[in-house]
Symmetry: C2
Subunit: 96 residues, 2 copies
Amino acid sequence: MAIEPELVKSANEALAMAEGRLEPAAVFEPATVDVAAIRKAQNLSQGRFAERYGLPLSTIRDWEQGRRRPDRAAHLLLRLIEAEPDVVARILSSSE
Amino acid sequence: MAIEPELVKSANEALAMAEGRLEPAAVFEPATVDVAAIRKAQNLSQGRFAERYGLPLSTIRDWEQGRRRPDRAAHLLLRLIEAEPDVVARILSSSE
DNA sequence: CAGAGTGTACGGCAATGCCGTATAGGCGGC
DNA sequence: GCCGCCTATACGGCATTGCCGTACACTCTG
């Protein structure tokens, strides 16, 4: 897994913070979005998910495989898709 | 305005296509989103807009100044913000 | 007039977006 | 058994963006 080293690093930092050996970072960015989970909650394959929301399949793959992390706009969008899939889908189809 | 040359170019291409002098491009990407318009429709400054939707101010600037074009996820998000600002804002504040 | 708020403009690097291809497992049909 | 189809993992690779920082101009207000 490509992101593993980073996760380990983060975990160690969190530990250090908890033990008071390290100041909390100025930027708290969980940035962890489980795209696969959001997608599966809607019973969609990667392909159908991408198609449904007008996103490139390759980009979905990158996110799910942890090769790339969705930027802030994408992150926000994913949260919207998770919370209000119907609304998002509707807006999309309305002028595309 | 920085994007003007591109708009002019697109307009000429469209004209050429209409006159049959040019084949329609394989990729039809309007991709033009007037971020400033969407923002102003909500009477927000760039700063407040960015803050409201959890986006970096610098990124908003880039988009409005035409220096960068929002990618597909951002594009989609902007359309959502335009159509359903309240919904978007609510989802955001709900777990941030 | 100093200072705060807003917006334009742009340098710059790391990182992502997005395309393509190779590989592999599950499944129904012939 | 074999083939084709769907689905998903993995990754090479380049153009483009994301996002940070800084400089400059304008307007309003104390």
